[in-house]
Structure formats: structure tokens, C-alpha cells
Symmetry: C2
Subunit: 128 residues, 2 copies
DNA sequence: CTCTTTAGTTATCTAAGGTTACCAAAATGT
DNA sequence: ACATTTTGGTAACCTTAGATAACTAAAGAG
């Protein structure tokens, strides 16, 4: 993985879909994917319930991102033919696995949040 | 962290900048940030060298993303007044720390790459 | 006196991301 | 009878992130 190197022995990152980093970014680097995944860690949930729990998400983006996550294999979609219809989304086995490394990342971000804010402030003052 | 819950006891994700997940995505969810960070893990490097190692990145996006990463505090920028001028970028202490959880994520993505591809194929056949 | 290399900036264009408004179907309220 | 609510969407539009390409400066090489 990522072992391609140039003459100087430095890593090279090709466009190919074999580049794991580009895959990660393409799959969960968008604005909503991670939020939706984390909204399902405590159990399955319905469309409108997810929507109400993720502040600022539009119906369109929720639909679209749920489709994408389903396509990748991170969530399952089940329709219950009640009235009104009920659609339940839940993490797959793989989705549950994915959330683990994501969670360590989120914890890291939370711990370093203050330091990052300070860095931004210092940069803005330095650069004016 | 992320402990806000609604009446049903489910997590709620507010727009506020205190939401760690939104911060992670905003900081490194763009197309180039992770690639640049990983291009510096084996040591500092210069602008054009980084550019040549990250296939497809334009000068504009490299400049812009390097500035952003510097502002967040993940990399340092050093100008050597040689001729022609040499500009070196290196990970900060915090940048090095950030790469660790990112790396476990990238490893995960690499391991599950085949399963994801299969899931996509199955989805596309199912939905046509 | 043009060419190269360095590390950018500026201007413009387009594709992806996102907002707003609208849809159907059936129960419930008045 | 008729509007309202709740469900999970879709269609048309707009906005911004990212791509493309041309331009800059500064000094040495030919």
C-alpha cells in the first residue's frame, strides 16, 4: 500500500483508484457521510429522525448521501410498507468496522481543537 | 464530546464548531489535505517536489491547501533565500500526531477496498 | 538577450455540492 | 368534505470548490 516511490525514495501518490488515501477522501470526505455514519452507531434509525438529528442537512443531501453509503456497503436500507411508509437505515458489519478508526480520529480532533484554534489565530495575526 | 442527545436518547449533531466530526471533515475532508500530509511523513520537502509526487494537483490547489494546513498548525513553511528561492514544508509536532489516526483509517480502507468495490458492483446491478 | 528553474498569483470556467420548492399516499383533525 | 400532518422522497435552480491555463519575479546558464 502506498509504497510507490520516486528516484529520491519519496512516496508518490498516483491518481489510480488503488491509492487508499484518495479512496478514503472520496468515500467519507464529503460534508455529511461521517455524521450519518455516527448517527447510526447506537442503532438503526429512520429518514426523518436522522434528518432532525443532523442540524443543517437538507432532504436532498440526506437522500443522496444515504444512497452513496449504501452503495459502498456501509449501511443497509429497509422499507416497511406501513402507512406512512417507514424506511430504516442501519450500519452493516463493514460500516460498524469503519466507525472504529473514524472514532479515534474524531477523538484526536476533539483533544486538539483548542490548539488548532490558537494556531489559526496566531497565523491570522502573523499574516494580517 | 458528541454527547448531546434528543428525547429518544439518540445523539444530535449541532452545527456549532464544537462538533468534533464537523471539524475533522472541514479540516481534512477536502481533496488534497490528506495527500499533502502523507507526502511529508518521511521528511520535509519543497513545493515542486511535493507537486510532482501528488499526481493531478495544480499549483493553485497545492499553494492553497499548504496555506490552510499551515494555518491549522499541521505544517511549517520555511523560506531559504537561495537562488532560485527554496521553500520547505514539514509536519509540525501536531501534524505528526494527526497522521497516526489517519494512517489507521487509510490501512482500513486499503484492507476493505475489494469488499467496497464488490458492494458497489452489486448495488449497481441491483438498482440498474 | 532568451531560456530555465524556483514558487507562486490572477483570471476564468465548470462540475460538484447544496438550497428551495414541490410531489404522492393515507390517516387524522374540525 | 376538506385541509393538515407525516412519511420519504424528486426536480429545478443556484453557489462554491476545484480545475485549467496564463502570467509574474529573480538570477544564473547558454
Amino acid at each position: 500500500m502506498e509504497l510507490l516511490k520516486n528516484k529520491a525514495g519519496k512516496r508518490v501518490f498516483k491518481k489510480t483508484d488503488e491509492c487508499a488515501i484518495r479512496n478514503v477522501v472520496a468515500q467519507i470526505g464529503d460534508k455529511w457521510s461521517m455524521l450519518i455514519l455516527f448517527s447510526l452507531v447506537d442503532g438503526p434509525d429512520r429518514f426523518n429522525s436522522i434528518k432532525s438529528r443532523i442540524e443543517g442537512i437538507s432532504q436532498r443531501m440526506l437522500t443522496q448521501t444515504l444512497r452513496d453509503l449504501e452503495r459502498e456497503g456501509y449501511i443497509n436500507r429497509t422499507v416497511y410498507p406501513e402507512v406512512p411508509v417507514k424506511v430504516e437505515y442501519k450500519l452493516t458489519e463493514m460500516g460498524n468496522e469503519l466507525v472504529k478508526p473514524l472514532y479515534t480520529l474524531v477523538l484526536w480532533a476533539d483533544e486538539h481543537h483548542k490548539a488548532i484554534k490558537q494556531s489559526r489565530k496566531a497565523y491570522d495575526e502573523r499574516v494580517q
